[in-house]
């Protein structure tokens, strides 16, 4: 009896979690998959099996929109990495006290405390045609005409997303940097490695899993992004998320579902390839 219980116990323990997981994650995604094959008109959906939705999205536009989304992804990823890594490095190696490290880490989360509405409104006085940045540059005579690309442009979209998501790059990198045994650095220095060599041979490889985790965060967030794209792009920039949102807004659920499935597949592919390159298991 007790033997059976011993075998069953782990299963009993994971049951609640599995049920929640199935009910609220797997089942909805399956439903989206099912609906993506349904037929629809302006106001209702009918169960059917049609590939028309998938054919309908395999167009130039979808392709271009994906390219545009990848462009955003690439730029946001690069920017968050280039800014996030030094920030995390500074936090981990140059801030001596743990208390300060924690405090400064919390400071990095501040962009997160504002709502979308606030962000939407507050970027205008900063980046707008008559905004602070333009006024400053015009004041010191660097430019004669206000720079229009600052707001409602791809630049603004990337800026908005970097501002918003950089914490997801900082946190895991900070985490892996903190786990590096300091004696390894000392050993490398004892062996005569220069600062750059220590970084390249010791720190960078050991923090790679952190970069991978951060990248996964960025990929999933940016691939599905539509709010920032709309607000900062002034509705003029396209992303897959926004495409889906427009379709949902027009009650074209099956089309949106088909798009969502494709997006899911593409995002999974990117993540799988990240995982192929870097093993993050030892990080967890």
């Amino acid at each position: 009896m007790s033997e059976t219980w011993k075998t069953l116990k782990p299963y009993a323990l994971i049951t609640p979690q599995t049920l929640v997981f199935l009910l609220f994650l797997v089942f909805p995604i399956l439903m989206i998959g099912v609906v993506s094959f349904w037929e629809f008109n302006g106001y209702s959906m009918t169960p059917a099996f049609t590939l028309a939705n998938y054919q309908g999205i395999l167009t130039d536009v979808t392709f271009k929109t994906y390219l545009n989304t990848f462009k955003f992804l690439g730029m946001v990823w690069l920017a968050t990495l280039l800014i996030g890594y030094p920030v995390a490095y500074f936090l981990a190696f140059h801030v001596p006290k743990l208390e300060w490290q924690i405090l400064l880490f919390l400071v990095c989360t501040i962009p997160f405390w504002t709502s979308n509405i606030i962000r939407m409104i507050s970027w205008v006085p900063l980046l707008g045609r008559e905004g602070l940045v333009n006024q400053m540059f015009m004041g010191v005579g660097l430019i004669q005409q206000p720079m229009e690309f600052l707001l409602y442009s791809d630049f603004a979209v990337v800026l908005g997303m970097v501002h918003l998501y950089i914490i997801f790059m900082i946190a895991p990198i900070f985490n892996s940097l903190m786990r590096i045994e300091r004696s390894l650095v000392t050993a490398a220095e004892d062996l005569g490695a220069s600062g750059l060599q220590v970084f390249r041979e010791v720190i960078l490889p050991l923090s790679a899993p952190g970069i991978a985790i951060g990248s996964i965060f960025i990929v999933t967030l940016v691939m599905g992004e539509f709010v920032t794209v709309r607000l900062m792009g002034g509705g003029q920039s396209a992303s897959v998320g926004k495409l889906i949102q427009t379709q949902i807004g027009s009650l074209q659920y099956p089309l949106a579902a088909a798009n969502a499935i494709v997006l899911l597949a593409v995002t999974m592919l990117i993540i799988i390839s990240i995982l192929r390159v870097l093993d993050i298991r030892k990080e967890l």
Partner: protein, 434 residues
Amino acid sequence: MGKFSRRQVIRTSLAAGAFLTATRCAAPSGTPNNPASGPQVNTNQSKDVTLRLIGTGVSQINDIRDKAQEDLGFKFDMRALSTEENNQIAITQPGQYDIFDGEYFSLPLVVPSGNLQPIDIKRITNYDKIVSFFRTGEFKGMPVEKSQGTAPFKVQYLTGADSKEFSATPTDYATLIPFQYNADTLGYRPDLVGRPIESWGELFNEEFKGKTSILDIPQIGIMDAAMVAESLGLMTFADKGNMTKAEIDQIIEILKEQKANGQFRAFWKTFDESVNLMSSGEVVLQSMWSPAVTAVQSQGTECIYAPLKEGYRGWGGGIGLSKNLEGVNLDAAYEYINWMLDGWVGAFLGRQGYYSAAPETARKFMSTSEWDFWYEGKPAAEDIVDPFGKTLAKSGVSRDGGSFDERFGNIVCWNSTMEENTYLVQKWNEFIAS
């Protein structure tokens, strides 16, 4: 701060990251600001009734709810949604509302879903006082009679008591009772434009390159674009309100070209976005809704709602009954409709620049100077104040576009749901992605 082990910090930071990711997944929605009403002593059955209304932000007004609760004795629960959410709920979640306050152009989608029950006109006291265009499609022989698109009259009647089919001629069964409507046009900043705007075509004028905007709602934006294209002679339509695929292709091509040339500064989707764009000066000329113009003005910025020679794009919203309403609740809903047509609401909306379904009854609740200003288009005899106490026009100023007849009579097209709606949305996405 106490002692933190390094491992603890690591765990916390990872968890924080995961937590932040999770909170990001919740998409922001509209911001309905409808506080719950106070407790109430119930003395009879109808006081137990709470009617749940859904509608767009411009129609769900707390002052109207409070006054209705006071006059009628039962409760209202209002939800302010975006145009799109409103239609989605109307069609997919019939259990969520008792009264649907939506636009006429959504009816070709909402009515076939069977979620609305026809309104029995015999129970509506002031039905004959409603502006004739809604009831009969006639309006003093003015251009609006020939207007294109989903004109309210075309979807006003159903063929029977449990029908889902529109009737081309008046019957006893109505889809909606008009609540508010207006003649939309371009709004502009006179201080930044520097001259009067008199034609839709100006939206594509190079003079305003990078300073214009249109709506990013396909069914409305396409109508504005069509007005512009027609005005400039770029193309013609057999019926703007029901474009063919070829026509949609052509107009989208025109829009794409304008976008590529940098004509637009931004597109907007919600009311406050359009107000922001205009009051910050990012955009100087754009298609707008009339209360948005009023909102810009009330910030002390000059903004003109241009009367254009080609005419206006009309929109109208009304109140419909959910199929779930029955018994006391249904009676209460009819009471509400009759109350709405009684005039107080009409006057309230009138002071915001909308038109009332039954202007005659609203007149009783407006002062002569208010009536003359809003409906007759005469210069204000005294300062004109909106229902929230803000002065909208100084004495001596006239409203843009003149009298009710001049404005309403010159509507040439309406927000539209076309037969090719799916195709339109697809092409619209193409335009946005271009």
